[in-house]
């Protein structure tokens, strides 16, 4: 217990003091954090810490105090990734105060965490959250007496409805006025700190907490009776997923179109007139390269917002954990749980937010495995390409079957990938998942979450996306004056032809796939540049004339399975924090795309030859 003996590297008096938020999952810890810090929170930079930690500066006693939201943990000695992160954090960065959030109705088991903290000599304040829920269960807590026995101040709060904050604030402020060195643990402390014997907890709670002898059948039990029904549970789940998918489809995609028309309005009415005096090549670079990148970033904003509003509602209401219960029998065989399924479905709207959403899965192996699957989900952008190609090369009205087969292929490849790699990315964590009672998400909570995700996307990904768009512009516009196959991109397309010919993709289409690296939305537009044609009908006719339908289908397969877009790659990198994994994912999708197209194209040629 180095904190009391003064052997800690006590921070200089000028250093900002630090408060760490600690608590089990589902205790409303992040809600409290959001309430206290408002929209000022940001993802901090903590060397050696592998997950994102939110932090914010809060004024207390006229002093700037740093608040850090640590991931939810069950046990200070736990084995899960989050528990290791917290252990690592407490050993790397000194803290002045631990604010421990406890779900009041589960105080009988959650009290272990502050006891472990106390044994380590870390100063702390306990916040008993969801006091209203505990009262409904008939649980009575004598907070004053409990606080005395523990020697730790306790406050009752309702993080969700913002009650009890003044008290909590005053208590935190009061505890911080005590001048003591900041606490830094070392590995020995953690090893030595004992497990809390159940008898100690029993003794502590004997006169301070009164639990009812049994509880009434509550609303959660009634809802679960239907929603987790052995027979109807799954159909209800699938209906819900369909509804979710429809919302992303019917609201999210038009919102993307809205952003596109906004950015093209700015381009047409502001940028183009302004750039009139510039040389054509410079103007083209600024508008189609740089501004194109900005527009790509912008088009994702409303989609990410909507996605995380839905995600927050699913998560905060308690249904996401229940989906894991419902789908576990099927997904466990793939080394995953039901939450990966939900994300995969949302990936059919757009891969990017789905990848960001994998953070709800706390096992790194399960998260990486899901991130490997999601890019195979046939997103809306790819759909645009397929609709165009189908119109060009399948004029006989079988388009629906073609499209449906592509959806099936998307699912099959995603599941196959999981099956193939579940041995490598092995999820070692035991499956014991808490099913919290159903709770109404508050609009404020939901909005803050969605807004936070948009901010993160902008700060993390925008640079790379704009840079990528600029690079592609160079590839497709240089050398000066060249068009179509004469550009560097076109030459690369021709250079690749020994590889692309066996899968039936000509250099023109290869070039469009290089464009498609930015975003699939660009592919169709790129045909105009590549073929040097202006009207859609002319391009349709040209593609229909030069591409057979098996070549067209092979192109669709390749387009479906190779990298969805630059934004997806950047997001994978930002989420996995590993170039190796990102390159592996990229290589895997290119490999699978080529192989699938090759198998299809060559067998189709064989069948035709033998007919």
């Amino acid at each position: 217990m180095i904190c009391h003996t003064g052997t800690v590297s006590s921070s200089k008096s000028s250093a900002i003091r630090r408060v760490a938020l600690i608590g089990q999952p589902n205790t409303g810890k992040s809600t409290f954090f959001n309430r206290v810090t408002g929209a000022t929170a940001f993802v901090g930079n903590w060397p050696g810490i592998t997950v994102d930690l939110y932090q914010a500066n809060v004024q207390i006693n006229g002093e700037t105090i740093e608040f850090v939201d640590l991931p939810g943990i069950y046990d200070l000695h736990g084995f899960s990734e989050d528990e290791k992160v917290v252990q690592q954090f407490l050993q790397s960065f000194p803290i002045d105060l631990g604010v421990i959030i406890i779900n009041a109705s589960q105080i009988d088991r959650q009290i272990r965490l502050p006891l472990q903290f106390r044994d380590l000599g870390l100063p702390s304040v306990i916040l008993l959250n969801m006091a209203d829920e505990a009262r409904r269960y008939g649980i009575e807590i004598d907070t004053d007496l409990l606080g005395q026995r523990l020697g730790i101040p306790i406050c009752l709060i309702s993080a969700k409805y913002g009650k009890g904050y003044t008290n909590a604030y005053l208590e935190i402020a009061r505890t911080l006025t005590v001048d003591r060195p900041a606490c830094l643990l070392n590995a020995n402390d953690l090893e030595k700190s004992r497990q809390i014997p159940p008898a100690e907890i029993e003794f502590l709670l004997a006169e301070t907490v009164r639990m009812p002898s049994r509880i009434r059948r509550n609303l959660t039990a009634k809802i679960d009776h239907f929603i987790l029904h052995p027979l109807f549970g799954l159909p209800i789940f699938f209906a819900g997923m369909f509804a979710l998918f429809s919302i992303v489809w019917n609201l999210g995609l038009p919102s993307q179109g809205f952003m596109d028309s906004l950015t093209s309005w700015i381009q047409g009415n502001l940028l183009e007139p302004l750039g009139q005096s510039l040389p054509e090549i410079v103007r083209d670079f600024l508008i189609n390269g740089l501004w194109g990148g900005v527009a790509t970033v912008a088009s994702f904003i409303p989609l990410i917002m909507l996605f995380f509003i839905l995600m927050a509602v699913l998560e905060d209401s308690g249904y996401l954990s229940r989906s894991a219960y419902l789908m576990d029998a099927l997904m466990a065989r793939l080394g995953l749980d039901g939450r990966s399924f939900v994300l995969q479905i949302m990936g059919f709207g757009c891969n990017v937010p789905a990848l960001m959403g994998t953070r709800v899965m706390r096992s790194r192996a399960a998260r990486l495995l899901t991130m490997l699957m999601i890019p195979f989900a046939l997103c809306s952008a790819r759909l645009q390409v397929f609709v165009f190609i189908i119109a060009a090369v399948f004029p006989n009205g079988n388009g629906a079957i073609v499209l449906f087969s592509l959806y099936l292929l998307s699912f099959a490849v995603a599941l196959g990938t999981a099956a193939l790699f579940q041995g490598v990315l092995k999820n070692e964590e035991p499956f014991v998942l808490e099913l919290p009672p159903y709770r109404f998400p508050t609009p404020r909570q939901v909005f803050l979450r969605a807004w936070g995700e948009v901010q993160q996307f902008l700060t993390r990904a925008s640079r790379y996306i704009i840079l990528g768009c600029v690079a592609i512009w160079f590839l497709t516009n240089l050398p000066l004056g060249a068009t179509g196959l004469d550009t560097w991109g076109g030459q690369i397309g021709q250079w690749f032809s020994p590889i692309m010919k066996p899968i039936g993709i000509n250099p023109y289409l290869t070039l469009s796939l290089i464009f498609g690296f930015i975003a699939k939305e660009v592919v169709v537009g790129a045909f105009a540049v590549i073929y040097g044609l202006n009207s859609d009908t002319a391009i349709l006719a040209e593609v229909g004339r030069t591409v057979t339908f098996i070549q067209g289908y092979s192109f669709c397969i390749f387009c479906l399975l190779y990298t969805p877009c630059l934004t997806t790659i950047v997001t994978i990198y930002k989420e996995a924090k590993s170039w190796k994994f990102t390159l592996f994912s990229l290589g895997l999708s290119l490999g699978i795309a080529w192989l699938a197209s090759f198998i299809f194209y060559q067998s189709a040629l064989l069948v035709i030859a033998h007919r």
């Binding site: 084995f79 088991r109 509880i215 219960y325 029998a329 099913l435």
Partner: protein, 82 residues
């Protein structure tokens, strides 16, 4: 008898947590979730196709636990049915 063998609606108390392939990790996690000796457990429902169990621990904690993990929890039956 283990938690995996408990019928839906039956109540039991935990008698031991066995150390399985997850070692101390699982028992730590279960303990943090309130699954300790002498604690009341009830199986609320079982998911189809060999899926997980929906278990209430004590009065106010509910968890989904896979059958393999439930086998690690030794229990003693209580005679009262809910």
């Amino acid at each position: 008898m283990t938690l995996a063998e408990l019928n839906t609606g039956q109540m039991a108390i935990v008698s031991e947590i066995r150390v399985g392939r997850h070692g101390q990790g699982l028992s730590n996690r279960l303990e943090a979730m309130g699954m300790i000796t002498n604690k009341l457990v009830t199986v609320l429902r079982k998911a189809g196709l060999g899926g997980p169990l929906h278990v209430r621990i004590g009065l106010t904690t509910e968890v989904a636990i896979r059958r393999a993990e439930a086998k690690m929890v030794g229990i003693q039956l209580l005679d009262v049915a809910e």
